[in-house]
């Protein structure tokens, strides 16, 4: 009896122990052996990660006016596997989406579980569609890039693709900054379909940067307007104009005509997208003579009181003839620039050895990228000094046989506005992070060289005395007897140089006799330079001289820019200068 009692007791205890052991074993299996997998499974059922896609950063002008911005819009998708009636869905959606019934029907019969029907729909269109929404269709929120200023600065800004990736211009150049990094946080799903943030909730929005440019949209507009007028009047192929702050190198406007609207970039050909101010090279022609003269003056090879024989308009170098537009006998150094004599410029340039001359050309910024921050900068083309023939040497002296971008030429001209200092132009004033902090330097992970914004340290290229002398020569160009009388502005002294260069025709294997590039580069007011401008007109048909075609555009742009920048005409000697000058920052 007692024995059987003990047996029963032991059996019960054993069973209880066994069941406990099984429970323990199972919990060991669930907690330890499969713990990680099951934890993930459980988390996927009641938790989810919300990814905050950063909104592409803004691009604004120097006054904060929006040039490019991303706005959330809706995109329509469909799951063809869930659609009940393909013909009915196609019939309902077709008129609203602007897609033909048959095309839409074909798309909806796809075997895939996700297809886009239309991306980045206009808000009004999305509202109308929301009311219909057949089964198997839905909206996804995406960002669409808008350019509120439309054509203004189109080539400089560039544009983005359908997935908000930068494709051209600054949008492409600063893609890593503007795009930003996505950021995620975990939320717990409640029974009521509400979500509760659990961990990793971002204290601030995802990291992304906006760019504030040096561009002024008012100056940009007037530059584009006068350039377009000038190109049309000259019956030219195209034109380029750059407006720069002389002292800092801040680019105030960059215009290329014909332009394009980045909001509708698909409607334009690729040729319209090029920012020809930096991407295209041209032979600067006579505007380059200021570099030749300053190099010769710096080396002490010419003097102010020296006269040069201009060979009565024709001069032979290495079997080639160099001609002047007008025949000249003897010209002083000032007159060489004022009358723009090719022969005398060649003679002056040939006094320099090729290596020394090329060294000066490089110092003025030719042959290397300007580093302005604009996309797709060209470095130009410079023949190595040891390969120069006498013809090359002579023609480079008056700006033929050298390829430079308009921005490089403006940089070089701006040296004379800054007492011989080369100012590197810049486009981006600063980057602004998501907290609103302005940054002048920024390094991204995996990036070797940091992004640097704002003005750069100037480099001395020539002595201030030489610079001042050439500047005075440049003033004479816009005065009576000079080649650019049309660039003169009433009340101001204008310093500049015209350029009329022939275009090399690769089909003919020589310079074209019908195609020219007319240009004018200068700065104003000449005695206290505030604005430096370069205007370039490609293939004008009415008249091809820089002084006739480009100089008036320069004048119009300079005049209006000074009004915007509040640069009043200099006072006469009787008045106190302080009583009238208004700072351009004021």
């Amino acid at each position: 009896m007692i024995y059987s009692f003990k047996i029963r007791l032991l059996t019960i205890v054993g069973l209880v122990a066994l069941s406990l052991l099984i429970a323990l074993g199972r919990s060991f299996q669930l907690q330890v052996l499969e713990g990680a997998r099951l934890e993930k499974l459980a988390q996927s059922q009641h938790q989810r990660t919300v990814v905050l896609e950063p909104k592409r950063g803004r691009i604004t002008d120097q006054k904060g006016r929006i040039l490019a911005v991303s706005i959330p819009v809706k995109s329509l998708y469909a799951n063809p596997r869930v659609i009940e009636s393909v013909p009915e869905t196609a019939r309902v959606l077709s008129p609203h989406l602007g897609i033909s019934y048959h095309k839409l029907k074909r798309r909806l019969t796809s075997k895939r579980s996700f297809i886009w029907l239309k991306r980045q729909i206009d808000p009004e269109q999305a509202k109308a569609l929301e009311k219909l929404m057949p089964k198997g269709t839905g909206f996804v929120e995406e960002y669409r890039r808008y350019y509120p200023q439309r054509n203004a600065g189109g080539q400089m800004l560039g544009f983005t693709g359908i997935d908000s990736q930068g494709l051209e211009g600054l949008e492409y150049e600063y893609e890593p900054l503007l795009k930003g990094k996505p950021q995620g946080y975990i939320v717990e799903k409640e029974g009521t379909y509400r979500t509760v943030p659990l961990k990793g909730y971002p204290e601030r929005p995802p990291e992304q940067f906006s760019l504030q440019l040096t561009l002024d949209s008012r100056i940009q507009h007037l530059t584009e307007k006068h350039l377009a007028q000038g190109v049309i009047e000259a019956q030219a192929d195209r034109g380029t104009a750059i407006v720069m702050d002389s002292a800092s190198g801040a680019i105030l406007a960059v215009a290329s005509y014909p332009g394009f609207d980045p909001n509708r970039y698909r409607q334009f050909s690729r040729a319209h997208f090029l920012n020809r101010a930096v991407t295209s090279g041209y032979e600067p022609g006579s505007t380059f003579k200021v570099i030749t003269l300053s190099a010769a003056l710096s080396e002490g090879l010419v003097s102010v009181d020296q006269n040069f024989d201009c060979e009565n308009g024709e001069y032979k170098v290495g079997g080639h003839r160099i001609r002047d537009v007008k025949k000249h006998q003897q010209l002083s150094l000032l007159e060489v620039l004022k009358k723009s004599s090719n022969i005398c410029a060649a003679k002056i340039g040939m006094r320099l050895t090729p290596h020394v001359f090329q060294d000066y050309i490089r110092r003025f910024g030719f042959g290397s990228k300007p580093g302005s921050g604009l996309a797709a900068e060209a470095s130009g083309k410079l023949l190595p000094a040891k390969k120069w023939t006498s013809v090359d040497h002579a023609s480079i002296s008056f700006g033929q046989g050298i390829l430079a971008s308009p921005l490089q030429m403006l940089m070089a001209i701006n040296v004379f506005a800054n007492q011989g200092k080369l100012i590197t132009p810049y486009t981006v004033e600063h980057a602004i992070d998501s907290t609103g902090k302005k940054l002048s330097e920024l390094i991204q992970p995996g990036q070797k060289t940091p992004y640097q914004f704002g003005p750069k340290i100037p480099e001395t290229v020539i002595e201030p005395q030489v610079s001042d002398l050439v500047r005075k020569f440049m003033i004479s160009v816009t005065e009576k007897g000079g080649t650019a009388r049309r660039a003169a502005i009433e009340g101001y002294e204008v310093a500049g140089k015209t350029g009329t260069s022939q275009v090399y025709d690769p089909r003919l294997g020589r310079y074209s006799k019908t195609q020219y590039v007319a240009s004018f580069g200068g700065f104003v007011p000449a005695n206290d330079p505030q604005i430096s401008i370069l205007v370039l007109i490609r293939n004008p048909r009415k008249s091809y001289y820089g002084g006739v075609v480009a100089a008036p555009i320069f004048r119009d742009i300079a005049q209006k820019t000074m009004m915007i920048q509040k640069v009043l005409p200099p006072p006469n000697e009787k008045t106190n200068p302080e009583s009238i000058r208004v700072s351009h920052n004021g």
Partner: protein
């Protein structure tokens, strides 16, 4: 029958005396320890031993008041935790809602900013000024040679 019952009773008494003898007791309380080893040297009686810890806990568990206090404390702790958790969830939900509202407001402001910049773009203003008000941009900047001239300009 009586004899059988007496036998069972005897067996049970034997069983209980065997199973609960000092040798067979599976676990001894602190009190029992003191009872079963009364002749321990007085110098060792206050000595700390690790085995006393579970023994003291066991003794504590025997006490109704201790258990009640423990139960009360655990219940209070659980209630406090629950209160804090509910509080946290409430705040998190509010925060989520506010974040969404904030995002919606930011979106509205941004739209307005873009609209302002679109409507006040220089090209449009110039077109409107010339079209509606017959205004043309000035051709020349103000031609003051000196501020002294301001007073000299005839009416």
């Amino acid at each position: 029958m009586d004899r059988l019952l007496q036998k069972i009773e005897k067996e049970l008494i034997n069983l209980s005396s065997e199973s609960f003898s000092s040798k067979n007791i599976p676990f001894k309380s602190y009190k029992m320890e003191q009872t079963f080893f009364p002749n321990r040297a007085s110098s060792l009686s206050g000595q700390f031993r690790w085995k006393y810890i579970p023994a003291v806990l066991w003794d504590g568990m025997q006490s109704f008041y201790t258990m009640m206090l423990l139960g009360f404390l655990i219940t209070m702790g659980c209630l406090f935790y629950l209160w804090q958790w509910m509080n946290y969830r409430g705040i998190a939900t509010d925060l989520d809602l506010l974040t969404k509202q904030h995002a919606a407001q930011v979106y509205q402001i941004e739209l307005l900013e873009v609209e302002i910049d679109y409507l006040t773009r220089p090209k449009r203003l110039e077109r409107l000024a010339s079209g509606l008000m017959q205004l043309q941009p000035p051709e020349h900047p103000p031609r003051f040679v000196s501020l002294n001239q301001v007073s000299e300009i005839p009416e």
